[in-house]
């Protein structure tokens, strides 16, 4: 008898405890089978007990055989379920059509069997009704009736449960012995006892009765307890089947079998609840499928644990890389902050130079504006002087013209004198010619005169030439003077020069005005630039202040790094926990988070924390002033 399933082993034990197998017929059971045969109008009714390899009939109506092999038993099938097994026509039922009990004697066609269920839930056999003719129906009422009758069979079986009877007998014997012993004791020490009770003021007979009753009750209780414990246990130990329970190649018997069964039972219950919790939907009432499901589940869990362990082994590396990145961020922001500060310094230097230049330019332009007034005044003086000079020159020219007119008049006078001289010279020449002619007629005597006449003529001719030269000279001189003293031309020239000077003056004044305008514009421009320069300086000052962000970032990153360290510690403990044979529970991640909060410095860190995690964690009070003087 090896390889019994636990449930079967337990079932057999429950059956054998009842001690019904191979016992003589009992009219109480026979009444029930007879009643069933009548009630359901069948030839055969049985109280069938399903043993390990047979079914044995405690009571049978309409059947000769006391037992049949279990393999072909209908009842062995019926005890598999809680409800009655009803086969209306076995010939048409795939499960039983080929059963020898169907194909041969007794030619079963109709079968209805209700399981006999023990008080601890084991189905030890059936109360069944059998017919060799098929039935068309077996109503619910019939089923109920059959179940009730099966219960009646079990009531009888359990009422005569031998250990209980035996215990009752033993308790009765024990009680008799107790009373006997106590009576002897009271008889032997009666007087002493009564004296003692008398000393505490109880009336002797009453006290004696009370004491005896008390002692009796206590003794009885103790005895009952002892009897219950040992006698019942002894009774049961006798009844436990001698079949060894073999589990996983290991034999268990007696108490050890009970312990093993209890452990297995507990394990099965636990496994089932675990599997249900894990959402396993397979049939878990059936042990093989339960174990199969459990194995699958365990393998899946193991695989998951292995992959989880592999996964967590990557976390330290991840933490290292993340930490390194964060530290790089800090370094880079620090470098950037330095660069920004350096550039701000450069900008500041430029701005300072610019502002200096602007202020210097402002001073210079002021000086220029002041100086330009003087130079314009000087220019005006110059122009006035020029105008006066021009007027004087005009006056001089007028004077000159008058003087030249007088000279021309004198020259005109000389012209008439030259005409007179020319006429005289012409007459002299004529005279000399005539004198020569006369001298020639006079001959010798006129010879000297002729010479004189020739000389006179020569002189006259030379004088005529000289006079012509003089005349030409005077004419040229007059022409030149006339040209020079032409009044209209001179006045025009003077006027044009005067206009030119006025234009120059106007231009100078315009230029001066424009220069003033430009200078004022430049000044306001410089003032604006100066203001802008100061504005830039202020902005820059603030920008320098804003570089504090880097320090804030650094401290926030430090917090994150602390968190990463905590995460790493958590991971280490988790990895140890996941390892097969690893001990200890993983670190509490909440504690890690709390450790991180202790590194919080800014209010924004607390705020973010609370946004993500609900509830407060001892955060600082809101709304504290950024600047507080104590």
């Amino acid at each position: 008898m090896f390889g019994l399933t636990i449930s079967e082993w337990l079932r057999l034990r429950a059956l054998r405890r009842l001690q019904l197998l191979d016992t003589p017929a009992d009219p109480r059971y026979d009444r029930i089978t007879n009643q069933a045969a009548r009630l359901f109008r069948v030839p055969t009714a049985l109280v069938s007990l399903v043993d390990s390899d047979r079914q044995w009939f405690k009571s049978r109506v309409g059947l000769e055989a006391p037992e049949t092999p279990r393999e072909i038993s209908f009842c062995a099938q019926a005890i598999k379920g809680q409800d009655p097994l009803v086969i209306l026509d076995a010939a048409n039922d795939v499960r039983f059509a080929n059963n020898p009990l169907v194909t041969g004697a007794p030619g079963i066609r109709f079968y209805a069997g209700a399981p006999l269920t023990s008080c601890d839930g084991h189905r030890i056999g059936t109360l069944c009704v059998i017919d060799d003719k098929p039935r068309s129906e077996f109503t619910d009422a019939d089923r109920t009736q059959l179940v009730r009758m099966a219960q009646a069979v079990m009531d009888i079986a359990q009422a005569q449960y031998l250990p209980v009877q035996r215990m009752k007998t033993l308790v009765g014997v024990g009680l008799g012995l107790q009373i006997l012993v106590l009576s002897l004791l009271i008889w032997a020490f009666g007087s002493t006892w009564v004296d003692l009770l008398g000393m505490i003021g109880l009336p002797v007979p009453a006290a004696m009765a009370l004491a005896t009753a008390g002692l009796l009750a206590i003794g009885l209780a103790v005895l009952l307890l002892v009897l219950e414990k040992f006698t019942v246990a002894a009774a049961f130990s006798d009844l436990v089947p001698k079949i060894p329970l073999v589990i996983s190649g290991e034999s268990y018997s007696g108490k050890h079998a009970d312990e093993a069964i209890a452990a297995i039972d507990e394990d099965i219950t636990y496994s089932r609840s675990c599997l249900i919790k894990s959402g396993i939907t397979e049939d878990l009432d059936n042990l093989p499928s339960l174990f199969a499901a459990r194995r699958k589940h365990m393998e899946a869990l193991e695989a998951r644990a292995t992959s989880a362990a592999a996964a967590v082994s990557d976390v330290p590396g991840f933490c290292d890389v993340t930490g390194a990145h964060l530290r790089t961020v800090v370094d880079q922001t620090e470098n950037a902050a330095f660069a920004i500060l350096g550039q701000l310094r450069d900008i500041d230097a430029h701005v300072v130079r610019l502002v200096d230049f602007i202020r210097r330019s402002d001073r210079e332009s002021t000086a220029l504006i002041d100086g330009s007034g003087e130079s314009i005044a000087r220019n005006r003086d110059c122009i006035d002087t020029l105008q006066r000079y021009l007027e004087e020159r005009l006056q001089d020219a007028m004077h000159d013209r008058n003087r030249f007119s007088e000279i021309v008049q004198v020259a005109d006078g000389l012209e008439s004198s030259i005409d007179a001289i020319t006429r005289i010279l012409s007459a002299t020449n004529m005279l000399a010619l005539n004198a020569t002619i006369e001298a020639t007629r006079a001959g010798e005597f006129g010879h000297g005169f002729k010479v004189v006449a020739a000389e006179v003529r020569e002189l006259s001719q030379q004088t005529s030439v000289a006079i012509r030269h003089v005349h030409e000279g005077i004419s040229k001189m007059r022409q030149a003077i006339n040209h020079q003293i032409n009044g209209q031309q001179l006045e025009q020239k003077v006027e044009s020069e005067r206009a030119m000077l006025t234009g120059l003056t106007d231009q100078l004044v315009g230029m001066s005005d424009r220069f003033h305008g430009v200078a004022h514009y430049q000044r306001s421009l410089l003032e604006e630039l100066d203001r802008a320069g100061q504005g830039i300086a202020e902005v820059m000052m603030n920008a320098m202040g804003q570089v504090q962000f880097q320090d804030i970032v650094r401290q926030q990153v430090d917090s994150i790094l602390a968190g990463l360290d905590g995460l790493r510690r958590f991971n280490d403990s988790l990895a140890a926990h996941l390892e097969v044979g690893g001990d200890g529970a993983p670190t509490d991640l909440k504690a890690v988070l709390e450790t991180m909060t202790r590194t919080y410095v800014t209010e924004v860190q607390w705020r973010r924390h609370e946004e993500v995690m609900t509830g407060t964690m001892g955060r600082p009070a809101d709304g504290l002033p950024a600047i507080e003087l104590f």
Partner: protein
Amino acid sequence: MKPIFLVDDSPTILMSMTDILTKAGYTVEKAANGPEALKKAQGGLQPALVITDYHMPGMTGVELIRELRKQAGFRFTPILVLTTESQQDKRTEAKSAGATGWLVKPVASDQLLQVIKQVAPTAR
């Protein structure tokens, strides 16, 4: 010429504060942590104002204040704590240690200068 004494482990803070204060016409002395600051203080430094960080390696700003207050020359020197720390209990701790004021970073430059003018009018 009484300088302003800056104590902060952050080089960027030291640099930016120095720039701001120098630009505003102050002279500046610096230390990167509490022990260094104490050494300078014991070496005869007499600032018109101390501005210290709270979280620093080796010694917190408040511990530094306690040490400084033990020195005769620093008994009445105004000391400001310039920090990212926002918790009330730290402020209270600083106040009882003898701090003059508490400034949470980032502080705008003009506000900082205003506070300095208020608590240390003799600083140059």
